[in-house]
Amino acid sequence: MAVPRAKELINEPSCGHKQKDKAACRKAPEPGSSSGGCAFDGATIALVPIADAAHLVHGPIACWGNAWGSRNSLSSGPSLYRTAFTTDLSENDIVMGGEEKLFRAILEIAGRYSPKALFVYLTCVPASTGEDIESVCKKASRKTGLPVIPVMAPGFVGSKVLGTRVAGDTLLRRVIGTREPKETTPFDIALIGEYNVSGELWDILPVFTKLGIRVLSKITGDGRFEEVATAHRAKLSVLICSNALINLAGGLEERYGIPFVEGSFFGLKETNGLLLRIVERLGDAALIEKTRAFTQAMTSQTLQTLEPIRKRLFGKRAVLYTGGVKSWSVISALKDLGMEVIATSTRKSTEQDIAKAKELLGDRGVLLTRASGGELLELVRTRGADMLIAGGRNQYVALKSRIPFLDVNQERMRGYAGYKGLIRLAKDVDRALANPVWRLVLEPAPWEAAVAGELAAEV
């Protein structure tokens, strides 16, 4: 097996899990139950948003044939990352070894597309047969003069989160520090774990600009290879999706002495809190003052805008099934809207995440570790929730059961981060609840109502 690093990454020292709970990170999926994405999936989620790189998947058609183009990480410039490159290994390639084909594929892509860099993703089959893709990448890099970066996260090493960590480790060891920024400022930050789903990043960047903070490296939403490579010059890293890329933030601290803060841009309270933590760590009195004033102004402005919608959403009850930081940060956002969350999941969450979720839920709230679609529905029914807020895989289960639904995971159609994002979230929650289709599906068909009426009359 060619993936020694993956195992070490489970024991990431910065990880919020206590030693006894490492099983949660390791989380060998249970055979025979429905399962989430693999390490390869996690690695592509974290790296493919680097828009000016070519992303080449070395394996049979399965890995990329089923997955290419499936995430809405947006780019404001190059679109090369949207093109699917794979070696599409056939039986013959596997018997004869696919290294030579990989080498030629890298040359073809480098010659044709002039990418800023090439990421080469190892998958289960060439990992099982022991192909040495690190050497191939090294050779190809010498030949093309481009960074050719092997990503050693074949699916079988573990879960999506582990794959994301492999991606973070790859950036740390092979990318960051290889370029220097043209200039630096005292307020340079690296934004880690924000993938610009549905343009979410673009609601956050203007906030930083307004405050005079420069995002030196976006890792990786709307990211470019060169700016990612300069992250070692940041003064502070800001970790948005804590568990998945914690090793990257931890590594930047260890190697370059860059401290990090964690947080979320979902909801007023969290956005304000994170902004303040950022400027406090940057340590400039004037900036802190400015940020305080800014957050206060934005808070009252946002609340004022939300006023009419908050009246309608007040007291509405939701079941939340997402993961990681979102397991508590979305609660916070929904509370900003006057809503009540009666249950949340703690998948992929750290102990800190869980503690925050508990606090926000209150005594009556339910913490779910893992629930199937059916169990979620049961919870919605028994607890009298008005809607389910979750990810794409539960969407159709909810709709089949006539439960209003909103997607807050990677398939969300609009960005929900920051001040503007909260207003968009309010609008979408409101619409999900108020759509006239719910009345239609909940009412019996007219003839059924008539039959029920007749029966009642007979009784």
Partner: protein, 516 residues
Amino acid sequence: MDTGKTNAPLGIKDHVELFQEERYQKSFEAKRAASEMPCEEDVLKISEWTKTKEYKEKNFAREAAVINPAKACQPLGAVLCSLGFEGTLPFVHGSQGCVAYFRTYFARHFKEPIAAVSSSMTEDAAVFGGLSNMIEGLGNAYALYKPQMIAVSTTCMAEVIGDDLNAFIKNAKEQGAVPEDLPVPFAHTPSFVGSHVTGYDNMLKGILQALSEARPKGSPNGKVNIIPGFDTYPANIREVKRMLKAFGIEATILADTSDVVDSPNTGDYQLYPAGTPLEEALDAQNASATLALQRYSTLKTLEWVSQNWAQQKTLALRPIGVKGTDAFMEALSEITGKPIPEELEKERGRLLDAMTDSSAWIHGKRFAIYGDPDLVLGLTSFLMELGAEPAHVLCTNGDKEFTKEAEYLLSSNPFGASGKVYTGKDLWHLRSLLFTEPVDFFIGNAHGKYLQRDTGTPLVRIGFPIFDRHHLHRYPILGYQGALNVLTMVVNTVLDELDRKTNVPGKTDISFDLIR
């Protein structure tokens, strides 16, 4: 009543509108300059170069990198096949991530919940073999999801280490992980061989084999078996059932995904909403004939059926377009001795009438078509019936047999004279073709939208996957009614395009006519 009408007061735009604004466009521009992107002139120059014959030659000389492939892998096909049987849980032996992809893929296409599980093999299993994962997995799946049948397929990893499914399943039953009498058919479905259509074929053969072994052959039941093949249009199956009903033919659909991937909203989520009843599937060997509606996704299954079930007829047809559907009608009539029902004859007449109404708009238009082998052949044939000229017929997952059949189809029809077949090519090859030998329209799946953006060629969405348009799978493309739907989509794309080309007031609107 709350209506959720909150546009005006909140005034927050989403990413579709927001980033079209001048200030954002300006900032994107500035960023492009700052990040040392090549200047617009160079980008244009290269972009123009990718449209040339010279580039096309280089592109077609490519032999290692596959770019934007139009195919998925074997187990994905196996999962669709398994979903078509009553109470059946698709179980994929191998790494977990593959199954997560299949579920998402189908969920996005059908907009339905899709149940499938994995044996979740990890690194250790890759070293020591997947036996314990299989046993534990079958046990857990049975306990958790209470299926009536578990259909086992494999990902490449289990195939690379050479796991013996037959022995593993026996072992699992001996150890009591699942009951001895639970049907657990299996198929080896390595993704480095063939594509999703091959996986469908292997899985169906595995299921039919296991079910016939479970019960000895009985007396003829007078029914006809229908195998839809890898068909992502549940409405096709519904349509075929309607046609059979008009004939008065009793049939067993193997495997019936209608009502599984388009189940009605009853307020109750069901893990197994429908599918071919196992009792009927067990009895399928006693039918008088087995007809497949696709050839390349049923090759091995039909071969096995003809060798083992000894029925009056085993045949692959392709009821797309007029001739394709005619052949299906005749085969049904011949097998059962029943006349073609008047209802369907009338339907055929209405289709022909509609074709005469529209064919003037379609006649002579050049088309490119890509997708799965049978779909591509069926649509090519129907387009030629309409007087269109298929110029590029591209199939990433075709084989030699397909190439021969497609070339014969084109050469046997004057409208196919200029057509060429591209087997094993990808959508980046097609991009070159659309530039160097342009066509008026092309037919393909949702990935085609990027080709439409790059080349300006209008896309008619027929195929799989279609993630970006809703409900197309709810309309049949098989049979006369299906042909009418295809005709409607094609002719209205032609007319939309005509409007689009003539809609600038005072400039191009000389021909912006009301009556087309």
